[in-house]
Symmetry: C2
Subunit: 114 residues, 2 copies
């Protein structure tokens, strides 16, 4: 449920239109028509983008009369950020270790400043 959803999330974020939709939704809820307005694209295409975002859990939708207001959801973004952060942390630790090694070697060579 987690790894798969990471794939769905990153795949959803890979499209500029969908990122723009999320950017708009970060400012507040919006209907499909409102979301579609800035794009040179059919309403149906936007609707399909929303379905992709919904499947990734990045948005949820209510119903009020014939409108389907979309709301951004943070959980998948949190997961994505956590995944990236995790490997950045591993990488940083590796650099720290490398740094220690370099210092050690310099000390052994009696070199206090490279």
């Amino acid at each position: 449920m987690e790894n798969d959803n990471l794939s769905l999330t990153f795949a959803a974020l890979a499209d500029p239109t969908r990122r723009a939709i999320l950017a708009r939704l970060a400012e507040g809820e919006a209907t499909v028509n409102v979301l579609a307005e800035p794009f040179d694209m059919s309403l149906q295409a936007v609707s399909q983008h929303l379905k992709v975002l919904e499947r990734a859990g990045l948005i949820t939708r209510g119903r009020s009369a014939q409108w389907r207001p979309c709301r951004i959801e943070m959980a998948p973004l949190d997961d994505a950020a956590a995944w990236i952060g995790q490997y950045r942390a591993v990488w940083r630790d590796r650099f720290d270790l490398l740094d220690q090694e370099i210092r050690k070697i310099r000390q052994q060579k009696g070199d206090d400043r490279g």
Copy 2:
């Protein structure tokens, strides 16, 4: 160059195999053969995954004899994390505003606690 690269980066991260490759590379450089070993997949397929990662700037490759050691690069991951963080910040600010509004309304109603 930035927006397009975000798309390339997220698209690259959308594949579990490529995420696993990055996870391995976070521990240190590795050759294509070494990277391919854990996967039930041809060497060529892994090579193609590496090309995707390279095009996104997520890895760079050296040459030492017939080996092509792969190294992870943090810059695109930083960009991706920054993009996500940006909208999480917008969202948090929105909640803060909403929170203030709720407090204001409660105060107007003479209600000092839920």
